[in-house]
Symmetry: C2
């Protein structure tokens, strides 16, 4: 299985998909066309989203073909050379995937070796559920189940800071609540600019920042690029 | 109908339930016992939660009787003099309310005149759905439907600031996504320290800060304590 799970499309102050572009290019290798899932978009159109991603992927000669153009989305998935799932609102994304009945189709396709790239909401839906998203539940999916390509949960855009004078929960508070409800699952707090790569049966952390790992009964710990992430297979 | 919908239990740097206590006392009037919903608690017990709230309510001589002690929760609601729903995780709260099949029971009770106080998640569930919560979807409720005591949505802990150098969505971005999905509903961004009071068929905004109002097709606008909030009945 080949996965590239990116925390965020865009670092503050940078251009769209700037930080992960060299990794995306390397990950795709000889693939010249990807099937793109634009369904996390809410306040802009799927056509606009496709165009925006195409502009970046054109830099390394890859065609972005959005699934919203297809009448038969299952066939589109089955014929894809690679699957790319963009960020936006995780609830809208998973709801639309469920409406198209694509959970098992995508899962089987990716388990069969087709490379999968996701960022933000697109990384969340690679996990067992969407339960570690930061997004507002603006629409109601059939359930919280996602592609289950990995056994852990990602919290994308993980952040340590908290607005000054704000009493609402910190991100860490929220994840501590999650592990209370689901004590057998690791959560990877993936800071902006970071990605998790699965290739050749090993996970690696990409980027310059550590990730923060949470599991019930364990003190949260930092893992660094280069560290052994085999525990994520547990 | 009598509602006191509070943004947050605790302002930064203050004691628990300090800021709304005089309003709660005034709102309850002669009532000396309230039925408390502790189910939004995740990382601490219902007993602890009840005790914490009781400590504050004791200052004005009100007994806090938590619903988790009751075998028949419907009867507990039907016999309550006032209902108080505490904050925590909105998904866990609404899931537990649904498991006890209390949506209609509470709704009818409050429509019949029993005072309702909520803070944070407890204010969210007074709305038609939980779709404007900030909480992480750590557990999956049957659906997103809530008490529908009002026709608008509250976003509690509304905040303007955003962690510096963070590229994730701002709170306003998230609410703009919500109104895209649900264009007929007002969202009240209720800043910390603020509350919405419904008494004598009029809404008022309490506290020292304006609230930010969102609706599809309308520029977000600020309303101030003392402003006419009749549009919220639309």
């Amino acid at each position: 299985m080949k996965l590239l799970l990116i925390s965020n499309s865009t670092n503050a102050g940078e251009a769209y998909l700037e930080h992960p572009k060299s990794e995306i290019k390397r990950f795709l290798g000889d693939i010249k066309k990807v099937l793109f899932f634009p369904w996390a978009a809410v306040t802009f159109s799927y056509d606009e989203y496709e165009k925006k991603v195409q502009e970046r992927f054109s830099e390394f000669g890859v065609e972005v073909d959005s699934i919203h153009h297809y009448r038969n989305t299952k066939v589109a998935v089955q014929e894809a050379e690679a699957i790319v799932v963009g960020g936006g609102n995780t609830f809208k994304l998973i709801k639309t995937i469920q409406q198209h009945d694509l959970i098992e189709v995508v899962r089987n396709k990716v388990l069969g070796g087709t490379p999968y790239i996701g960022w933000s909401a697109g990384s969340n839906v690679a996990c067992p559920t969407i339960s570690t998203t930061n997004d507002m539940p603006i629409t109601e999916p059939d359930n919280f189940g996602a592609f289950s390509l990995v056994r852990f949960q990602i919290n994308p855009h993980f952040l340590d800071s908290h607005p000054e004078g704000h009493a609402g929960e910190t991100r860490e508070d929220r994840i501590m609540e999650f592990i209370e409800m689901d004590p057998y699952v690791y959560v990877v707090g993936l800071r902006e600019g970071s990605s998790i790569l699965l290739e050749n049966t090993a996970f690696s952390l990409l980027g310059s920042k550590p990730a923060r790992i949470f599991k019930k009964g364990m003190a949260p710990k930092e893992v660094y690029p280069g560290d052994d992430l085999d525990f994520l297979f547990e």
